[in-house]
């Protein structure tokens, strides 16, 4: 009987291991990870956070505290490993002035996260956070009406952050760590030039970059009430010697040096700082609520410049003029049974994109967010988690885009499904 049960048990455990290995492989590849949310901020950094609408700064729930508030590590009940993957499914429709409505090409993006925390001493904890907090991905039909602006855009970032947390006393802790960011970008568009076969020319820009930053936070506990404050610095991604590839350029325009067939470019993308303050409250033994306030310093994304060292006539600067924004998030966790926690959250996320700068590369707008999730205790130390989030990006009309005069109305829905595992030890 026992033997039988064990053999039957093994395959499922193997599945879990396989999933975990899959996540590690993805991390090793630094897979392009993408989404759209509050500029190009991605809010899928833990299943618990997704389930609560991103509202977790005032709670120390699992390994994701490394990222949300490193000081919270000191208040975790046990050591944690958390790993997870989310599927982001953006759906955008554009209604321009000329051709009727056009839909963004359906794509699924899959940001992941991996966290580990370990209590070295009673007052000192260490941790590691690896995740994809910023990125964007949009893809339109190759022949669509905005093809000279964008056909495809992908920016992804992987944040790797070793973390320390020190608990001064039972009420207050401090935590932080340096961040190494691996960034990659790929932008593709058509050029308004045709050859004798009527084939349109194109440009693809591809680059990789490494940046650094830091994350620091304070966590305070007053019995039922927790206060968390966290600051993640801005990160400058310097793209040096990226590959610029021109396709289908008529030979006459290469011969007279209007275009090279390929060249290199330099660019800089600034990822913003995020200041978060959270208020967590234990309403009862079974219920926790949290209110978060985020301030994202998007004003660092002022312009996107491309410099072509060998072909300065192609240099290009596009004003972005992002503004810094706030998000307000409210989430709750309810212990439904001994084994099952349920979560729900709502949020309002302000768009950093100003009128006059709304572009199909990132057709952003203010959004309302609804979310739900669960954690199920599979075994004594092993938890299975899931979450779902719906972002309603408010319909937005651009009437005078200052960069390219590309005007029209955008409407997006974003669906997120997340799965994760937690192991306590």
């Amino acid at each position: 009987m026992l033997k039988n049960a064990q053999t039957r048990y093994t395959p499922t455990f193997a599945n879990i291991q396989l999933m975990r290995r899959g996540l590690l492989i993805m991390w090793c590849l630094v897979a392009p990870i993408v989404s759209l949310a509050g500029g190009f901020q991605i809010n899928t950094q833990s299943q618990k956070a997704i389930g609560m609408g991103g509202s977790v700064t005032g709670l120390a729930l699992d390994g994701s505290v490394c990222f949300f508030n490193p000081a919270g590590m000191s208040f975790l009940d046990s050591n944690c490993i958390n790993a997870g993957l989310s599927l982001i499914i953006p759906n955008t429709t554009y209604l321009g002035l000329y051709n009727g409505s056009e839909k963004m090409v359906s794509q699924i993006y899959s940001p992941f996260y991996l966290y580990a925390t370990y209590k070295l001493k009673s007052k000192l904890s260490v941790g590691l956070s690896i995740n994809n907090p910023f990125g964007l991905g949009t893809k339109w039909d190759d022949k669509w009406s905005g093809r000279y602006i964008t056909q495809q855009a992908k920016i992804s970032s992987t944040y790797i952050q070793p973390t320390l947390s020190y608990k001064f006393n039972n009420h207050i802790s401090f935590g932080g760590g340096p961040i190494v960011v691996l960034g990659s970008a790929k932008l593709q568009k058509a050029l308004p030039i045709i050859n004798l076969n009527n084939t349109e020319a194109g440009l693809e820009l591809k680059g990789k970059s490494t940046g650094i930053g830091f994350n620091a936070g304070i966590f305070m506990n007053f019995g039922k009430l927790n206060i968390g404050i966290d600051y993640r610095s801005k990160v400058k991604l310097d793209f040096k010697n990226g590959d610029a590839t021109f396709s289908n350029i008529p030979s006459s325009l290469i011969l007279n040096n209007t275009f090279p067939s390929s060249t290199s470019f330099n660019s800089v993308i600034n990822l913003p700082s995020v200041f978060s303050a959270g208020l967590g409250y234990k309403v009862s033994e079974k219920t926790k609520v949290n209110l978060d306030f985020n301030f994202t310093g998007w004003s660092v994304y002022d312009s996107l410049k491309f410099e072509f060292t060998d072909n300065p006539t192609l240099n290009n600067s596009e004003a972005k003029k992002y503004k810094s924004v706030i998000a307000i998030r409210l989430g709750a966790e309810y212990k439904y049974t001994r084994k099952l926690d349920l979560r729900a959250g709502i949020a309002y996320d302000q768009s950093p994109v100003k009128d006059g700068y709304l572009s199909p590369e990132l057709p952003d707008a203010n959004k309302f967010i609804l979310a739900g999730g669960f954690t199920y205790r599979v075994k004594r130390h092993l938890y299975f988690e899931g979450s779902i989030m719906f972002e309603d990006v408010i319909e937005r009309k651009e009437t005078s885009n200052s960069n390219d005069n590309f005007n029209g109305t955008y409407k997006s829905y974003l669906y997120i499904i997340g799965l994760g595992l937690q192991y306590n030890f």
Partner: protein, 462 residues
């Protein structure tokens, strides 16, 4: 123990989940969510007060779809009325028949009257050994000159080369050179029996239009302008007399509106806004200090040079002088001769046929001004919609940013004009169609959307 199976059991919920089921569920939900796309309400198109069921157009090269120095099948397919008709079909517009040429290089004529195909852009080494562009005529298909028969089914009566007074001419349908070879192709009567041919207006009216466009008058000044002010004193190159222009416009509009048809009338663009007249500046002679000094040594008084941009030198009846600001150099002036063989210097001055002097420029400018006021007032008194193409070309000259592309009237790089420097390409014709749609919307309370000009083809580069 029996509960530990392939399934974990949530006994509390009485609900079974397995990792297989979860993955399955995720796939199903993802597919469902991927297909859940937001929709936006598209604006409704209505014809307003006009009836677009039978749309007939009368005019010249610019109505026919003439481009790259010739009329081609592709040019016809992208003529501005053909583009307009594609929108009219949304509100019950009927078929738009054009006297199509065969696939190929079309029909064009050189200034000497020789039959040629359309101009092609070629990449060559210029006299300085650098890669540069030139244009070259291709070979026409003479079969395309043949009469198509008495069909009377066409909607496009844009006749390349037509002047205002040609529209009612009873010799216009004869074959080249007595008549107009483009009208001859599809005139209902080529004069074989009576010696008198059908007229453009008569044929156009035979379809009983409900809506029309009229764009005539450019050729009444253009031939004077491209011949450098009619240096050869040919009557056919003279600017049309005001009296005959006025009569022609009145008679044409009366005839087209005699059945109560509504329509649009387009005016004449100033030639300064066409690349043919605006590409080579009057002071396009770029000299180094040494070159300027050497020329100064041999120059007559009143002609002097300095390093940088200098006014070209022109030979007027044996006397040389420098061009003044506002005088125009024609695009046909050889750039190789300018950059390598001293064309435009006292050594090798420009000839008068290569330029338009102040007097000629003002003759053209004033004639266009008078013709345009006639067109505008006649349009107003017939209560028709007036399309200000002149204004459109002016805005195009200062640049129009359209969905990420900068268009201008710059030769080749501006993107909206053909390589003949006078006629628009398909993109330019789409801009004209948009100006028409905007006018129609405001005059007849229609609700057409403008066209995406980026969906039309620009210059093909070799």
């Amino acid at each position: 123990m029996a509960l530990i199976n392939h399934t974990y059991t949530l006994s509390d919920l009485d609900y079974n989940i397995t990792s297989k089921k979860i993955i399955h569920w995720c796939v199903v939900v993802s597919i469902f969510l991927t297909s859940c796309k937001p929709s936006l309400e598209e604006p409704k198109v209505s014809p307003g007060l006009a009836d677009f069921s039978r749309f007939v157009v009368v005019g010249d090269d610019f109505t026919a779809g003439f481009t790259n120095g010739a009329l081609t099948l592709e040019g016809q397919e992208n003529s501005f009325p053909s583009i307009l008709a594609s929108r009219f079909t949304e509100v019950g517009g009927g078929a738009f028949n054009q006297p199509y040429l065969s696939v190929g290089n079309g029909l064009g004529f050189t200034s000497q009257g020789n039959l040629v195909g359309q101009l092609q852009l070629i990449s060559v080494f210029n006299c300085q050994g650098k890669n540069d562009f030139r244009t070259k005529y291709s070979v026409a298909n003479p079969y395309d000159l043949q009469w198509l028969g008495n069909l009377k089914k066409y909607n496009n009566y844009g006749i390349p080369g037509a002047k205002s007074f040609n529209l009612e001419s009873q010799t216009f349908g004869k074959s080249h050179p007595a008549g107009n070879p483009y009208y001859h192709r599809f005139a209902s009567d080529t004069g074989a029996t009576s010696g008198l041919t059908s007229t453009v207006l008569g044929d156009a009216f035979s379809i009983n239009p409900t809506f029309f466009s009229l764009w005539i008058g450019i050729n009444d000044v253009l031939q004077y302008a491209i011949s450098g002010g009619n240096e050869n004193q040919l009557p056919m190159h003279e600017i049309t007399a005001d009296s005959s222009f006025v009569v022609a416009i009145d008679r044409t509009i009366n005839s087209l509106t005699s059945n109560g048809s509504k329509g649009i009338v387009l005016n004449i663009p100033d030639i300064e806004n066409l690349p043919f007249f605006s590409t080579i500046p009057y002071n396009g002679l770029n000299l180094t200090k040494a070159e300027a000094d050497s020329l100064n040594n041999t120059s007559p008084s009143g002609v002097s040079f300095h390093s940088g941009a200098n006014a070209f030198v022109v030979n007027v009846n044996g006397v040389i002088r420098q061009l003044k600001e506002g005088e125009l150099v024609l695009l046909t002036t050889s750039s190789d001769s300018i950059s390598c063989f001293g064309l435009g210097t006292p050594v090798n001055p420009l000839s008068e046929s290569m330029i338009l002097n102040q007097q000629e420029v003002s003759n053209i400018h004033n004639a266009i001004g008078r013709f345009n006021s006639k067109i505008e007032s006649a349009t107003a008194s017939a209560n028709l919609a007036f399309v200000d193409v002149n204004l459109l070309f002016k805005s195009l000259k200062s640049g129009i940013l359209f969905n990420g592309v900068d268009y201008s009237t710059k030769f080749i790089s501006g993107g909206a004009f053909a390589i003949d420097g006078i006629h628009p390409n398909a993109i330019g014709y789409a801009f004209i169609a948009n100006a028409c749609l905007e006018t129609i919307n405001s005059k007849y309370k229609s609700t057409f959307s403008n066209l995406d000009v980026n969906q039309y083809r620009g210059i093909r580069f070799p």
